[in-house]
C-alpha cells in the first residue's frame, strides 16, 4: 500500500510520518514515534488503554487513522510530566494505589487529565461516569476514583494559590 506523509505535534514536538493511510494512530504513536505509553487492550475502542489527548479531547487512539490526526496537537502520558516533576494526577495515582499491573494506567491518566479540565470539581459519581470508557482489570476502580478525586482537590488548591499570587 502506498504510503503518505502525515504531520502532527506530539508532546510539543513536530513529527513527520511516512505511513500507510490505514495506519491507526495508536500504531503510529507506538511503533513509528516510539511513544509506547499508550497501550493496546482491544483494538476496538472498548478498553481505553490507548487514550491520548488530541486537540483538547480524549481520543482512543485505536479508533482513528494517523492521517485523521494531520496537523493535530497530541499529548500522551509521556508528555504531561517529567521524572523530576510528575503531573499531579500521576502523583496521586502513586499515592493512592490507583494502579496495579499498569497497563490501563496511561489511558486512565490521560482520560483523567482531560476530564479534570472538563469538570474540575467532580463528584465521585461524575468521576466514575467520566472514566467509564476506560477499563481496568486489577484495581476495581475504587483507588483510581480516589486518586482522581485527590488530584482534583490538589489541582484546585494549586490553582487557588496561583490566583492569589496573581492578585
Amino acid at each position: 500500500m502506498e504510503k503518505i506523509n502525515v504531520s502532527m505535534k506530539v508532546n510539543g514536538k513536530d513529527e513527520n510520518l511516512h505511513v500507510e493511510p490505514r495506519t491507526l494512530l495508536v500504531h503510529a504513536l507506538r511503533e513509528h514515534l516510539e511513544y509506547t505509553g499508550a497501550h493496546i487492550g482491544c483494538s476496538s475502542s472498548h478498553c481505553g488503554a490507548c487514550t491520548v489527548d488530541l486537540n483538547g479531547k480524549s481520543v482512543k487512539s485505536c479508533t482513528i487513522f494517523a492521517p485523521q490526526a494531520e496537523g493535530a496537537e497530541i499529548l500522551t502520558v509521556e508528555g504531561i510530566g517529567t521524572p523530576d516533576k510528575l503531573h499531579v494526577i500521576q502523583e496521586m495515582f502513586k499515592e493512592h494505589h490507583g494502579l496495579q499491573c499498569g497497563y490501563c494506567t496511561p489511558g486512565m491518566i490521560m482520560r483523567s487529565y482531560r476530564f479534570l479540565q472538563e469538570n474540575p470539581n467532580p463528584t465521585e459519581e461524575e468521576v466514575r461516569f467520566g472514566i467509564s470508557g476506560n477499563l481496568c482489570r486489577c484495581t476495581g476502580y475504587q483507588n483510581i476514583v480516589k486518586s482522581i478525586m485527590a488530584a482534583a482537590k490538589k489541582l484546585n488548591e494549586e490553582a487557588n494559590v496561583e490566583k492569589k499570587e496573581i492578585a
Binding site: Y35, G41, A49, V77, H97, C101, C104, P106, R137, G140
Partner: protein, 807 residues
C-alpha cells in the same frame, strides 16, 4: 559518633518500611509515566510480525490449505502450516495436563478460532493482508458443545488421534470423548450417610465458562541468535522457568541456550500460565527466518483461543440432621475441557483442588468424582484468579449450604456457624484429605455479621418483601453470604509438580558492599507489586531498608529456578524462600559481627538492623557495617561476600479464608440489580502491605462481580463463540462497580516463616458466592433454589418471570 543519639528500635524499624507497612509501590514511577516495558513495547532490529489464520468453524476436516496468494504478497515472508512443523515434531505439543495439543491444525480443526496457519510479514498490517489471502477448505463435521452429549453413543469423535486409547494421562477412558475420571473421598461411606440422612438437599450447580481477560493479551517476541545458538523469548509468561524447560524439551534446544524473559505483564489472572501455539510458532518462525518474530494476539483471539476458565457442572447432595448438623457431602462434576486437555493443574490433580469442596465446614464424610470430557470448544481450564479449581469448589459448597438452609428452613448464617471447623480443631484434616493449617472461622463470621448489622439487614429485607407483596414496590432485596476457605501456595514437592517440576520456589540475595541489596526470585509480578512487598519481607529479615533493596524477577538467565506466579503461590512459596534466604544472610552476618566485635556468635542478639552484644547495647555492628566488612576483611573461616540463596519446598499449603457479605437490590421487572453493600473480611495470615492487600481485594471482588453478574464465554450449538469481543464479554466499568468495605482478622500460618497465606485470589473465590447468593436470596421466598450464573439482567428477569412475579 558518640554524641549522636542512636535512634530507638522502633524508629529504626519504622525506617525499614518492612512487614506490615503500607509502603508505596516502587513499580508506579515507570507505570504512571508510560515507561513500563510490556512485550508489545519490545522492538528489535529486523523484527517481523506473525499472526494466525484461524478456523471459522468448530469442527471440520481440512481438505486443503492454499498459501500461494498470501506468499505472493509483498511484505509476507513465510506461511507456516502443520506440514512445515511436522518435520521438527512441533505440529503438536504437550499440554500441562498430560494431553497433547495441535500447534497448527493437523488435518482437522476442533474449535472455532483454532490456529490453522501462521503468517509472517513486515508488520501487523502486511500480516493481516496475508492472513486474509490464505485459502482453507473445510469439510464440516457435527459439533458437540454440550458436555453431557459428548459421551453419547452416537456423539461425533473429536480426538481421532487418541480415539482408540483406553488409557489417558489420568487413568481409564470410557469413551473417545472422555478424558478422565478423578475420585476423592469415601464413596460407600458417603452414600450410606446420604441414604440414612434426615435431610438431603440435591442440586445441580453450574459454574459457567468464562475467561481471565487480562487487559494486555498474550504475546511474545522470539529471537534465535544463530551466531551464538541462543534463543531468547520475551513473553507474557506467568511461569518463565517452566516455559524454558518445556521449550527445551519440545524443541531439543539445550536449556542453557534458552533465555526466557517475562517483562512487565499487563495482568495475568491465570490466562498467561499456559503454553500457546503463538509462542511455538514465533520461535519456529524466528529459527526459519533468522530474525526476531513478534506475535501478539488481539482481544478476539484472546477470548476465543487462549485459556478459558471454569465450565464445571457440579451435581451435589448434602445431608444433615434436622437440627442442621451437616453429616455428608457428595459431588459429581462434569468438567468441560474443550478440544484438548490443557488445564493448568499440578500433575496429580486433573481437577485441581476441587476436593477442597467441603469448604469451611466440619463434614465427617465426603465423596467427589470429576469426569473430564472433550467438546468443540477452546482448550484451557486455567485458574482465573484462584487456586486450581478452588473458586468452583467454594461456589459449589456455598450454594449447597444455601440450598440446605432452605430445605431446613434455617437461616444460612446460622447453618454456617453451626458447621464451621472450630478454632481448636486446627490443624484439621478434611474428609477429602487436606490438612487445613489454621483459621478462626467463628471469629471472622461473627465480626462480619456484626459489621453489617446482619439482624437489621434481614429486617429491612423483610420490610421490602412486604412492600413488594402489597404491590407498593417492584424491588426485592437479596443478602448474599459467603464464607470461603482457599487452598493456595502450591505446593509441597511430594505431591505438587507441573510436568514433573516440583512446585518449590527460590530467592537469591546479594548484599552490596555499601549495604544495599538485590534479590532475585523465580516468580513474576503481573500487578501484585512484588518489587514492593518482597523487599518489605527482606527489610524485616535483614535490617536493610526496603528502599535499598532492588527486586528482580522474570529473567531465567539471572533468577533462580521457580515455578512462577499463579494460584496465590508467590507469597506462600517465594515469600517464604525470601525470608529463609534473608535468614541465611543474617546467620553469616552474625559470624562477621562476632569477629568484628571480638565476641562469640552466641553473645550477640539481633536488634532490627544490627547485632548487639548482649548486655552491652553500646557495642553493635549495623548490617551496613557488616556488609562492608564482608567485602574488605579477611575473616578466618568465613568466605568473603554476603550472598545467599534459598530453595523453599513448602511443608503444606496455606489456607486463606474470609467472610463476605453482599446486599443487592433487584428490580423484578427489568432484572437490573444494584449492589448496595459489599463487605469483605479476609484472613490472609500475616499482612505484609495492607494497602496492597486492600487493592487486591478490590480487584478480585470486581472480577467476581463480573463473573457472577454477566461475564461468560458462550457458544451456540454450532460452536460459534457468542462473546468474543468486549462488546459482548462483560468487563465492569467504574460505573457498574461499587465501593467495597474491607476488613480483616489475622491468623498467621503456623508453617510459613512469616505466617503469610496469600490474598490475591481470595476475593474472587469468596466474591462470586456472595454476589450469586444475593441474587438467589432475593427470590428465595418465591421458591427459587438454584439459578445458573451469570446473573445478567435477562437471566434475572427470566427468574422473576418463571416464578410468576410478572403476572
Amino acid at each position: 559518633m558518640d554524641d549522636v543519639k542512636t535512634p530507638s528500635s522502633e524508629e529504626r524499624k519504622s525506617a525499614l518500611s518492612g512487614l506490615g507497612t503500607s509502603r508505596k509501590r516502587v513499580e508506579d514511577a515507570r507505570f504512571t509515566q508510560g515507561k513500563g516495558n510490556y512485550v508489545d513495547d519490545i522492538k528489535l532490529k529486523g523484527m517481523l510480525f506473525g499472526d494466525f489464520v484461524r478456523s471459522p468453524v468448530a469442527h471440520a476436516k481440512i481438505k486443503k490449505i492454499d498459501t500461494a496468494a498470501a506468499l505472493a504478497l509483498p511484505g509476507v515472508h513465510a506461511v507456516l502450516t502443520a506440514a512445515d512443523l511436522e518435520p521438527l515434531g512441533l505440529h503438536w505439543m504437550p499440554t500441562l495436563a498430560g494431553d497433547k495439543q495441535m500447534v497448527l491444525a493437523d488435518g482437522k480443526v476442533l474449535f472455532q478460532g483454532q490456529e490453522v496457519a501462521f503468517v509472517v510479514g513486515d508488520d501487523r498490517y502486511a500480516v493481516s493482508d496475508g492472513v486474509a489471502l490464505v485459502e482453507v477448505e473445510y469439510d464440516e463435521l457435527p459439533v458437540v458443545t454440550d458436555p453431557f452429549k459428548a459421551e453419547m453413543e452416537d456423539a461425533p469423535v473429536l480426538r481421532e488421534d487418541i480415539a482408540d486409547q483406553k488409557e489417558g494421562a489420568h487413568g481409564p477412558r470410557r469413551h473417545p470423548n472422555h478424558i478422565f475420571t478423578w475420585e476423592s473421598g469415601d464413596k460407600e461411606g458417603t452414600n450410606k450417610v446420604l441414604d440414612e440422612a434426615e435431610v438431603v438437599a440435591d442440586e445441580m450447580v453450574y459454574y459457567h465458562r468464562t475467561h481471565p481477560c487480562p487487559l494486555e493479551t498474550c504475546g511474545c517476541v522470539a529471537s534465535m541468535d544463530k551466531v551464538n545458538g541462543k534463543l531468547t523469548v520475551w513473553g507474557t509468561f506467568q511461569a518463565p522457568h517452566a516455559v524454558r524447560t518445556v521449550a527445551s524439551l519440545i524443541s531439543s534446544i539445550p536449556e542453557h541456550n534458552i533465555r526466557i524473559i517475562s517483562p512487565d505483564i499487563g495482568g495475568g489472572f491465570g490466562n498467561k500460565v499456559g503454553v500457546y501455539p503463538g509462542y511455538v510458532c514465533a520461535i519456529v518462525a524466528s529459527i526459519v527466518t533468522g530474525v526476531p518474530i513478534k506475535w501478539v494476539e488481539d482481544r478476539m483471539d484472546n477470548l476465543m483461543a487462549t485459556a478459558f476458565a471454569r465450565d464445571y457442572w457440579m451435581h451435589g447432595k448434602i445431608s444433615a440432621t434436622k437440627e442442621g448438623k451437616i453429616t455428608g457431602l457428595w459431588c459429581h462434576t462434569t468438567a468441560d475441557h474443550g478440544a484438548f486437555d490443557a488445564c493448568a493443574d499440578p500433575t496429580k490433580f486433573p481437577a485441581g483442588f476441587m476436593n477442597i469442596c467441603t469448604g469451611s465446614y466440619d463434614i465427617p464424610v465426603a465423596y467427589l468424582a470429576v469426569d473430564g470430557v472433550y467438546t468443540n470448544k477452546a482448550p484451557g481450564g486455567v485458574a482465573y484468579r484462584c487456586s486450581f479449581r478452588v473458586t468452583e469448589a467454594s461456589y459449589f459448597i456455598e450454594r449447597m449450604i444455601e440450598v440446605l438452609a432452605l430445605k431446613l428452613g434455617m437461616d444460612s448464617a446460622e447453618l454456617r456457624s453451626k458447621n464451621f471447623i472450630k478454632k481448636e480443631q486446627f490443624p484439621y484434616t478434611s474428609a477429602l484429605g487436606w490438612e487445613y493449617d489454621s483459621g478462626d472461622y467463628h471469629q471472622a463470621w461473627d465480626k462480619a455479621l456484626e459489621a453489617v448489622n446482619y439482624k437489621k439487614l434481614r429486617e429491612d429485607q423483610a420490610k421490602q418483601l412486604e412492600l413488594f407483596k402489597s404491590g407498593k414496590s417492584r424491588k426485592l432485596i437479596g443478602i448474599g453470604l459467603s464464607h470461603f476457605t482457599e487452598i493456595v501456595g502450591a505446593g509441597p514437592v511430594k505431591n505438587c509438580d507441573i510436568l514433573g517440576l516440583g512446585m518449590f520456589d527460590a530467592c537469591e540475595i546479594r548484599i552490596h558492599p555499601t549495604g544495599s541489596a538485590i534479590a532475585r526470585l523465580g516468580t513474576i509480578s503481573q500487578g501484585q507489586g512484588h518489587a514492593t512487598t518482597f523487599a518489605q519481607i527482606l527489610a524485616s529479615e535483614i535490617g536493610i531498608p526496603a528502599s535499598d533493596i532492588t527486586l528482580e524477577e522474570g529473567d531465567t538467565d539471572t533468577a533462580p529456578y521457580g515455578l512462577g506466579t499463579y494460584g496465590s503461590r508467590s507469597t506462600p512459596v517465594a515469600g517464604a524462600a525470601t525470608a529463609m534466604a534473608g535468614r541465611k544472610i543474617r546467620a553469616k552476618a552474625q559470624m562477621i559481627a562476632a569477629y568484628l566485635l571480638e565476641v562469640h556468635d552466641d553473645d550477640l542478639e539481633w536488634d532490627v538492623d544490627r547485632f548487639v552484644v548482649k548486655g552491652a547495647p553500646e557495642k553493635f555492628k549495623t548490617m551496613k557495617e557488616i556488609a562492608f566488612a564482608s567485602y574488605n576483611q579477611a575473616i578466618p573461616g568465613v568466605e568473603p561476600g554476603l550472598e545467599a540463596v534459598s530453595y523453599y519446598d513448602p511443608p503444606n499449603m496455606t489456607y486463606p479464608n474470609g467472610a463476605y457479605i453482599c446486599v443487592m437490590e433487584i428490580d423484578v421487572d427489568t432484572g437490573v440489580s444494584e449492589i448496595k453493600k459489599v463487605y469483605a473480611l479476609d484472613d490472609c495470615g500475616t499482612r505484609i502491605n495492607p494497602m496492597i492487600i486492600e487493592g487486591q481485594v478490590h480487584g478480585g471482588l470486581t472480577e467476581a462481580l463480573a463473573i457472577s453478574m454477566g461475564q461468560e464465554i458462550a457458544y451456540d450449538e454450532q460452536g460459534n463463540v457468542m462473546t468474543g469481543t468486549l462488546m459482548d464479554f462483560f468487563v465492569p466499568t467504574a460505573w457498574e462497580t461499587p465501593n467495597y468495605e474491607t476488613d480483616f482478622t489475622e491468623t498467621p500460618s503456623p508453617h510459613h516463616p512469616i505466617g503469610a497465606k496469600g490474598v490475591g485470589e481470595s476475593p474472587n473465590v469468596g466474591g462470586v458466592s456472595a454476589f450469586s447468593n444475593a441474587v438467589h436470596d432475593a427470590f428465595k421466598s418465591f421458591g427459587l433454589t438454584q439459578a445458573h450464573m451469570p446473573h445478567d439482567h435477562w437471566r434475572v428477569w427470566k427468574i422473576a418471570k418463571d416464578l410468576g412475579l410478572h403476572n
